[in-house]
């Protein structure tokens, strides 16, 4: 009687473990990487509540290194998200750069994690 549900408890745990092994893989995001000597250098700052990238046009398949001007990055603008390229990173004075390689063309959004500061850049 006490162990009436033992069978279901064991099966439930097995289902959870198997599904967990299958579903919990990777985090789907990066914080940049692959620094390169011939990277496109881009300056990032905030003006009037918007992200300003200079230049705002990147070349496809050429690594990009975004360097944030920390004197012009207030509040949550330091927490940067570029969803199109799975970038999430909090920049600081100790590490103010984001590196990634744009692999598709188009106009993409850059935003703070609260979606308050926004901007766009183009990959050609």
């Amino acid at each position: 009687m006490i162990y009436k549900n033992l069978f279901f408890i064991i099966l439930t745990l097995v289902v959870i473990v198997v599904a967990g092994i299958f579903l919990i893989r990777g985090d789907g995001t990066t914080s940049g990487g692959n620094p390169s000597g011939n990277a496109q250098i881009v300056k990032l700052s905030v003006e009037g509540g918007r992200y300003i990238l200079s230049p705002s046009e990147f070349k496809k398949n050429v690594p990009v290194r975004i360097e944030a001007d920390m004197s012009k990055m207030p509040g949550c603008s330091k927490s940067i998200i570029i969803s199109a390229f799975n970038i999430r990173k909090v920049v600081s004075t100790a590490d103010n750069s984001i590196e990634f390689t744009p692999t598709k063309t188009g106009t993409f959004n850059i935003a703070c994690s609260m979606n308050m500061y926004r901007g766009t850049f183009t990959v050609v």
């Binding site: 006490i2 549900n5 289902v15 967990g20 299958f22 893989r25 789907g28 969803s83 199109a84 979606n115």
Partner: protein
């Protein structure tokens, strides 16, 4: 000790004895539909598992616990005013907060809030009505608040250990739901309440399918805020 009796009751022949089986049926149903959809269409979605797998896993676990509590409540159908309000508030809050959190983490605050509020208000009002209009109101308010709060919490934690927070929030919510089930057992036991409704496993299967499919659709194909485009 009532708590020890509650643990023992999970093996009895009453509704409490069916709760473990309800979790199992819900999990199997949800993971089965997720597996079928994955092999039919979702595996062609870029980065499906790394992007959505983690949140879908916790969403399925959450729905199994919510449906377990709903089934427990429906078995007794009517409660005293204070208990009914607590039931409406707890179910509304948890069933609003968790979907709001998971969808907020993948689609943004607006759609996370909309889905969270919809689930929270639906389940809160439905279960809160076990004590009349006060419980229903309590459920609607808790669902409304929980849905927005869940999505907002996810957005605020995007760059701050979101995945760890997901696990912590799930554990806290599971503990609260366990407490609710204990309260229902104690209330029913103290007042000598009899079971009034016996739901079949079809109830669990139906709601698990509905909740899981809506969640998958929203996460993968649903509209999303500019932050996630």
């Amino acid at each position: 000790m009532p708590f020890k009796e509650f643990i023992k009751s999970l093996n009895n022949d009453k509704v409490e004895g069916e709760l473990v089986k309800t979790i199992f049926v819900s999990l199997v149903t949800s993971f089965a539909i997720l597996g079928i959809l994955y092999f039919l269409m979702l595996r062609s979605v870029e980065n499906f598992i790394p992007k959505y797998g983690f949140y879908l896993f916790f969403a399925v676990l959450s729905y199994s616990l919510i449906l377990l509590s709903v089934r427990h409540i429906r078995a007794y159908k009517e409660f005293a005013c204070m208990s009914g309000m607590m039931i409406g508030m707890t179910i509304g809050m948890i069933s609003g907060f968790l979907p709001g959190f998971y969808i907020g983490a993948t689609n943004g605050m607006f759609w996370g809030s909309v889905v969270g509020m919809s689930f929270g208000i639906l389940f809160g009002a439905w279960n809160g009505k076990c004590c009349g209009i006060m419980g229903t109101m309590e459920g609607i308010m808790a669902g409304f608040m929980g849905g927005i709060m869940g999505a907002m919490t996810a957005i605020m934690m995007l760059n701050d250990n979101l995945r760890a927070a997901t696990a912590v929030i799930f554990i806290a919510s599971a503990t609260i739901l366990f407490g609710l089930n204990y309260m229902i057992y104690k209330e029913a036991n103290d007042l000598g309440m009899e079971r009034k409704q016996k739901d079949s496993e079809f109830f669990t299967i139906f709601w698990s399918l509905i909740l899981t499919i809506i969640t998958i659709w929203f996460m993968v194909f649903g509209p999303r805020s500019q932050l996630f485009q």
